[in-house]
């Protein structure tokens, strides 16, 4: 598949997920929920296991889990007692891919800006040497 058609495929997939993405980003705006996702990136966990590091009650954690589940970011197993939470990578991936593209745009731009600023500083220092004290 060529790059152009790959991009079209991704784009179409993203358009279909537009509304889902709204809730994805709303879900990601909260630091506790991001921490929960980071924990789940390491493997599935029960509500109790997720609540432990957060000094939070299980019902409070469950509330965050419901937001994450609605956003399609996690799914929950059906095993009656434990109901382990699992990260749903694809929903998050569309969001993180986009953030990643944005980050790379600025990161790579800024690396070039570093070099330009060095050049500007050197030119200014050189100009001052030639022209004496500014």
């Amino acid at each position: 598949m060529c790059l152009a058609s790959a991009l079209v495929t991704v784009y179409n997939q993203m358009v279909m997920n537009a509304t889902a993405l709204d809730s994805t980003f709303a879900a990601l705006a909260d630091p506790t929920r991001r921490a929960i996702l980071a924990r789940l990136a390491a493997g599935e966990a029960s509500v109790g296991e997720l609540a432990a590091p957060f000094a939070m009650s299980q019902p409070a954690v469950s509330k965050h889990l419901r937001v994450l589940e609605r956003a399609g970011l996690i799914s929950r197993g059906r095993a009656a007692q434990r109901r382990p939470c699992r990260l749903e990578a694809s929903a998050l991936r569309v969001a993180t891919d986009w953030l990643d593209a944005l980050r790379r745009h600025w990161e790579e731009s800024y690396q070039r800006l570093d070099a330009l600023l060095e050049e500007m500083k050197a030119a200014e220092a050189g100009g001052q040497r030639r022209g004496g004290k500014p």
Binding site: V10, A18, A41, W98, L99, D100, R103, Y110, R112, L117
Partner: protein, 159 residues
């Protein structure tokens, strides 16, 4: 010492990018506001500004066109809302192939301390970011397949 780019998402409509530079802010501000300087650094690797027009006054317009791999082009333009050299620059931004209405407001703050400058850029989207992304922001780059980046991105968002 490396100057890391820090990306945060403080609300559903905002993305904040922060980065430090080893230069006084008047220089950094110039690099953002003079076309002959901006063309030398703006764009992801493989992308180059081929049009860079700036009517640098409040209410004036700007326009960039970038050329990338395989002849891809990307146009973006907007209006200057606030110009306070060397500390603040506020503009609106709209991409050419943006099908969803709504401009993004971009605020660059230039903060100087000990001859170093931190640029804090806030992207305020007209609608929640998810919608803006899928309908508006051109996916100018290939999509990363790296699943490992996931926890990295999440970790960065924490900071």
């Amino acid at each position: 010492m490396t100057n890391q780019l820090v990306l945060t998402t403080p609300s559903a409509r905002e993305i904040v990018l922060s980065r430090s530079f080893d230069a006084p802010r008047r220089m950094v501000f110039d690099a953002f506001s003079k076309p002959e300087l901006l063309v030398r650094w703006y764009g992801a690797n493989g992308w180059q500004l081929v049009v860079c027009e700036m009517d640098l006054r409040v209410g004036g317009t700007w326009r960039y066109v970038s050329e990338g791999p395989h002849g891809a082009t990307m146009g973006q333009s907007g209006t200057y809302l606030e110009i306070t050299p060397p500390e603040r620059l506020v503009v609106t931004e709209l991409f050419d192939d943006q099908s969803y209405p709504g401009e993004t407001t971009i605020t660059h703050e230039f903060i100087e301390q000990d001859e170093r400058t931190t640029v804090e850029t806030t992207l305020l989207f007209a609608t929640p970011v998810g919608r803006e992304i899928v309908l508006g922001y051109p996916m100018a780059r290939g999509v990363s397949e790296s699943y490992e980046r996931l926890s990295e991105v999440l970790a960065d968002m924490q900071t």
